[in-house]
């Protein structure tokens, strides 16, 4: 990822890299997690957490550099018209894009986007619709002068065998100044492909069922300290840069 790995060759390389990473991490990390979780001691739990981290992180490519691009697709069991209309009301986007606080329609195809920034701050940009075709596609980009340049698009195709609508979504983020590049992982998550994947899964759940599944806020018994760590590695949580490493370091010390 990071700085533009594009073109056929880049994609092929990327795919192979991902496959190797996924499998090696899965076997190693998975075994470590199983091993750790089945040991009684505290260090056992740390191992489990670390194993979980390996398994999780290895299938994701981190967000580094000045640019980040991510794409993903999902089939949603609703007609294209319904999917298009929900997405086109841009105010709906934060209901499934976790990194967004709000999107406000300013009229004339313009909109104001507010994303979660580092340490409780906000990152704001204005965007315009570049192109749209009813029930087929929408593309948008930030207006000139934004601190973070954003381009995004989404396409809606009828899925084979009447299985609903295939949705392909793509986003591209670019920091305009060196010191702004730290914003990218907070906006997009450390693993942009994964962030877009999660957004699309939530979109699917929301359209198909009217809600996104959650356990946030349910009761539980006494947690150990290390459970706090797994909360931090939970990719559903918007994250502050570095918190992941700090938590892992803390767990290592305690174990």
């Amino acid at each position: 990822m990071g700085a533009n790995v594009e073109g056929e060759h880049g994609n092929e390389h990327h795919r192979q890299f991902r496959a190797i990473q996924r499998w090696s991490g899965m076997v190693g990390g998975g075994a470590l997690a199983v091993y750790g979780l089945t040991r009684r001691s505290r260090s056992g739990l740390a191992l489990a957490a670390a194993g979980g981290l390996v398994a999780y992180a290895s299938s994701k490519i981190p967000c580094e550099g000045m640019e980040a691009e991510a794409r993903n697709s999902v089939v949603v069991n609703v007609p294209a018209e319904q999917a298009f209309q929900f997405w086109r009301r841009l105010e709906n986007l934060p209901s499934f894009m976790r990194h967004l606080q709000s999107v406000t329609d300013l009229g004339n195809g313009r909109s104001r986007w507010i994303a979660f920034g580092p340490g409780g701050t906000e990152v704001t940009w204005d965007a315009e619709i570049v192109q749209e075709r009813d029930n087929e596609m929408i593309s948008w980009r930030s207006l000139p002068g934004s601190e973070v340049e954003v381009e995004g698009s989404v396409e809606f195709h009828q899925a084979a065998a009447n299985r609903g609508t295939q949705i392909d979504s793509k986003v591209h983020y670019k920091a305009t100044k060196q010191w702004l590049k730290a914003l990218l992982p907070t906006i997009l998550g450390r693993y942009p492909h994964f962030a877009v994947e999660q957004d699309l899964r939530r979109f699917k759940a929301l359209l198909e069922t009217g809600e996104t599944p959650t356990t946030e806020g349910q009761p539980h018994g006494r947690r150990s300290q290390l459970v706090g760590l797994s909360r931090v590695i939970d990719p559903n949580q918007p994250r502050k840069p570095g918190s992941y490493e700090r938590a892992l370091e803390g767990a290592r010390r305690r174990a």
């Binding site: 398994a55 759940a205 356990t215 018994g221």
Partner: protein, 399 residues
């Protein structure tokens, strides 16, 4: 409220925790009147299912009374005051898989789908009280429980029919039945069933209901084999015979059972070299399961027959006789049970008195006894077959 919590391997404690609340529009809160310990919970107890966290509330077999519903639930579907039994699989009712009645494969009910995908490629549905990989939902061994997509899963019950006759519609009766359905039983068939635990017991009775002529049940505990006999099964005590596959061959005139069911799963017990090897590998965490019974099922099955696997497996298994499986042209069917397809028809069978599921209960205890009962059930002490917990009985105070 009181809730049974997983605090680590072989560590269970009854804790005081906050009451659950509605989190989504299609949620309901159920006040639990009866809840059970399942053989599947033993895999958690023994620490073989990854992604459990200290403090997780256990339990996926429960029933009770609806006390609150979210605003997304229509009144004619479910309302406060309804008496329900809740299936252990959580399904949205709207996705590709739910539309095809593959309820335990629901695409929208596991918020942690990405962990399961690491292990399995795609994620099955969320389950109550069964690890974070399977959704991390708080379970039903508690006084109250939150039920997501409550307009799809819970089955409304008529008044008058006691809990003990319908509680097992939450899992093991449909699971035994599903195991038998997967055997594709034809009139006159012989079905061999490994494991005479609660799942095996319901599988034996279901196989007869579905037209099997002979059922051969395999276990090592005489009291469980006795219960199998009471249903009309022939039995094999595998500790008293040298070779189960050979014994089945003799009993079926050298043909083999038409279908073989593994109602034991990943923690099978056994003897001989392969068992010791599996145990060692599992202890060293290089193999996640002990697939002794699965191997025997494949070896014993007649050519062109079916292997049905309701027993739960967790990860990666060694020395599966793939050659036998392929060359004998076998079919394997498995899965967490597609609960919603079987609950209503099985309730009708109970109402018609074709079966009284309460036969399987050996212990009725207050929820406070859960920590001891996990151990007793795991070690098959005290002739234990099935434990029903009463969340409201006056026991000791929660820890």
């Amino acid at each position: 409220m009181k809730a049974v919590c997983w605090m680590g391997r072989e560590k269970i404690s009854v804790e005081n925790v906050p009451d659950p609340a509605i989190l989504n529009a299609r949620d309901a809160i159920v006040k639990v009147t009866s809840t059970c310990i399942c053989g599947s919970d033993l895999h958690l107890y023994d620490g073989y299912i990854p992604t459990m966290q200290q403090g997780d509330i256990l339990g996926h077999e429960f029933m009770g009374e609806v006390v609150e519903v979210g605003r997304g639930i229509e009144n004619n579907k479910l309302k406060a005051g309804d008496r329900v039994v809740v299936p252990f699989t959580i399904a949205c009712g709207k996705c590709f898989f739910c539309e095809r009645q593959l309820w335990s494969c629901c695409d929208n009910s596991n918020p942690n789908y990405w962990i399961a995908e690491q292990l399995m490629g795609y994620s099955p549905s969320g389950l109550f009280g069964y690890s974070h990989m399977m959704g991390g939902y708080a379970g039903g061994q508690a006084q109250y429980v939150r039920v997501p997509f409550a307009d799809v899963g819970p089955l409304k019950l008529p008044d008058g029919i006691p809990d003990e006759k319908v509680i097992f519609l939450s899992d093991i009766f449909p699971t035994g039945y599903f195991g038998a359905v997967n055997c594709n039983i034809q009139p006159g068939d012989t079905v061999a069933i490994w494991g005479c635990g609660p799942v095996g017991q319901f599988a034996i009775r279901s196989a007869f209901l579905l037209g099997a002529e002979r059922v051969i049940a395999i276990d090592r505990f005489p009291y469980r084999l006795r219960m199998a006999k009471q249903a009309g099964a022939e039995t094999i005590n595998y500790e008293e015979c040298d070779d189960v596959v050979e014994a089945l061959k003799v009993m079926t005139g050298n043909i083999g059972p038409d279908s073989c069911m593994d109602a034991v799963g990943m923690e099978a017990h056994g003897k001989g070299f392969l068992y010791l090897l599996d145990k060692a590998k599992q202890a060293m965490r290089v193999e996640s399961d002990r697939p002794i019974v699965l191997r025997e099922c494949i070896q014993a099955c007649r050519k062109g027959g079916v292997v049905s696997v309701p027993g739960v497996y967790g990860g990666f298994d060694d020395t599966i006789p793939m050659g036998a499986f392929m060359n004998k042209a076998l079919t394997m069917k498995t899965g967490q049970t597609h609960m919603m397809s079987y609950m209503q028809p099985l309730l009708e069978r109970i109402q018609k008195e074709e079966i009284d599921p309460s036969f399987v209960i050996s212990h009725r205890v207050p929820i406070d006894s859960a920590p001891q009962m996990y151990k007793i059930f795991r070690d098959k002490e005290d002739q234990c077959t099935k434990v029903v917990l009463d969340p409201w009985a006056d026991g000791l105070a929660a820890a």
